[in-house]
């Protein structure tokens, strides 16, 4: 766990560095989902060297594609990207686009960017894996704002109807979306309850607690049902000046100052 904490901290510093070079990154969202991604990659559930395409391996679907920089940051900490390339994120011609595209490395699904689409894609992948008799699972990460979309619940209902026990959804419940606090923009109600009503195996955790996340993933995998982990998170987590703020974009000077102030153990 201590190791994961070090990895995540270094990834946060690299996120800030990317923010200094790429005004297009969504820093707040990337920081809120980073710990969950750290556990998924750190535990080997998702792999950086898995390529897009047909396979029976696990899939990781980041439906909140605007947080893809969290994956780039982790990939660089794990040695799959060098800093030079990281600085080019968002540049014309760079393979590190600001939302996942078809040729974006380290991501499985490139239909995200537009919210809710990754959820349907994940359900289709899970159906496909099951039809193939494959053991792989689909780990799906959505935001809470994304749950406004009708498509999100259409897709979850299909997952429930077909009892897709190989689908593990994680809601990065950071409480913020474009126009403000999620609950104020549009009522979300009892998110866990909505999933329970559909027949999901539901757990609620602190999305920044590695032990809780790891245990919840294990229970979800053993549950035999479509599963959701509602992860309470904080926008900007790990960078004290940004925590709890709904800011997604920060100017270059501030990003550099925050990166140099961030102390990792």
């Amino acid at each position: 766990m201590e190791q994961l904490s070090k990895i995540a901290c270094e990834a946060r510093r690299r996120l800030l560095l990317m923010a200094a070079y790429d005004p297009g990154i969504h820093i707040g969202s990337s920081l809120s989902v980073l710990d969950i991604l750290t556990v998924i990659y750190g535990s080997g559930r998702a792999k950086f060297n898995a390529h897009n395409g047909v396979s029976t391996r696990n899939y990781l679907v980041l439906s909140k594609g605007h947080a893809v920089h969290a994956i780039y940051a982790l990939a660089s900490v794990f040695g799959h990207l060098n800093l030079d390339e990281l600085r080019e994120t968002g540049s014309l011609g760079s393979r590190l686009q600001n939302h996942p595209e078809d040729d974006t490395p380290f991501t499985d699904v490139s239909n995200s960017g537009s919210l809710g689409l990754g959820i349907g894609m994940a359900v289709g992948l899970a159906l496909g894996l099951r039809l193939r008799g494959a053991q792989g699972r689909v780990y799906l990460i959505t935001g809470d704002g994304e749950l406004d979309e009708g498509l999100s619940w259409e897709s979850f209902a299909v997952a429930a109807s077909y009892r897709l026990s190989n689908l593990i959804a994680i809601v990065d419940l950071n409480g913020a979306q474009l126009d403000g606090p999620s609950e104020e923009v549009l009522r979300k109600g009892d998110i866990a309850g909505r999933f329970k009503a559909l027949g999901f195996y539901v757990q609620t955790i602190d999305g920044h607690d590695y032990a809780q996340a790891a245990e919840a993933l294990e229970r979800a995998e053993a549950s035999g049902a479509p599963s959701v982990i509602v992860a309470n998170t904080v926008r900007g987590k790990g960078v004290p000046e940004l925590e709890g703020s709904i800011r997604q974009r920060i100017p270059r000077d501030e990003a550099l100052a925050l990166a140099s102030r961030l102390k990792c153990q």
Partner: protein, 313 residues
Amino acid sequence: MSVEDLTPREAAGKALADLGDLRSDVVVLVADTGETTRARLFAERHPERFFNVGIAEQAMAAIAAGLAAAGFMPYALTFAAFMERAYEVIRNSIARLALPVRLIGTHAGFSDTYDGPSHQALEDIAIFRVLPNFTVIAPADSCETYKAVLASAEVKGPVYLRVGRDFHIPATCGLYKMFEVGKGYVVIDGRDVAILTTGQMLGFAVEAAKILGEKGVSAAVLHFPTVKPLDLSLLSSYAKEVKGIVTVEEHMVYGGFGSAIAEALASIGPKPMAIMGVKGFGKTAKNPAELYEYFGLTPENIAARAEELVALS
């Protein structure tokens, strides 16, 4: 029962069932439209590869994309008008990724006569034609629907197939054996004027050519079941010879088949053209013939427009 005796949607359902026998990667999705689209014919033979997602067209499109990403070849069927509801999902999940998803929009054009404008897709060719990577096919009758569905399995990227409900005039059954995606067909040869159609208007174009023939006007009838990519060599070979070109489609005159021909002619060499189709929403009626009459899509009107073009030259 031969394919000729089936309705277009039954031909599509039968083709899917047969395709399912040939290919184990074919899966079929419907949005509470298993019966209405006749995808049921596939479900009866391949129940384990059939998925009903409920009245949720967006989910159908996104899940089809996921199945394609997992290595399957999904066919997703609903009314053409309701397929439009999933447009942005289709754009970002299917077209942008060039996934081999095949969308079959049934009840297209005026064919869902009873249900009126809410159910009558008259803009689907336009909106799918404009999406990069998409192939767009509008078969003329049941025979062509059956062959086109089978042929669509060979297309690399996504496909939109436009299929009618029940009405059809068998016009292609003896025209060719194998459907070739991207190929246009000479149904009647002629030298004065060319009538170009896609979809179910072919039978009317053939009638129009007969009317013109009786008046001493030699009219060619060219059928383009594939609207995108268009058979440019067939188009240019006739465009150079005839005095004018009439396009006919059961669709808006904006952005559809006629527009595709006009765009191509802008490069090949412009010709006097008449683009026949509709300019507004459909109507409820007791049978499609009433609607064709109401909207002016009749053999007589087609012949009249062709005659005008010949007279102009």
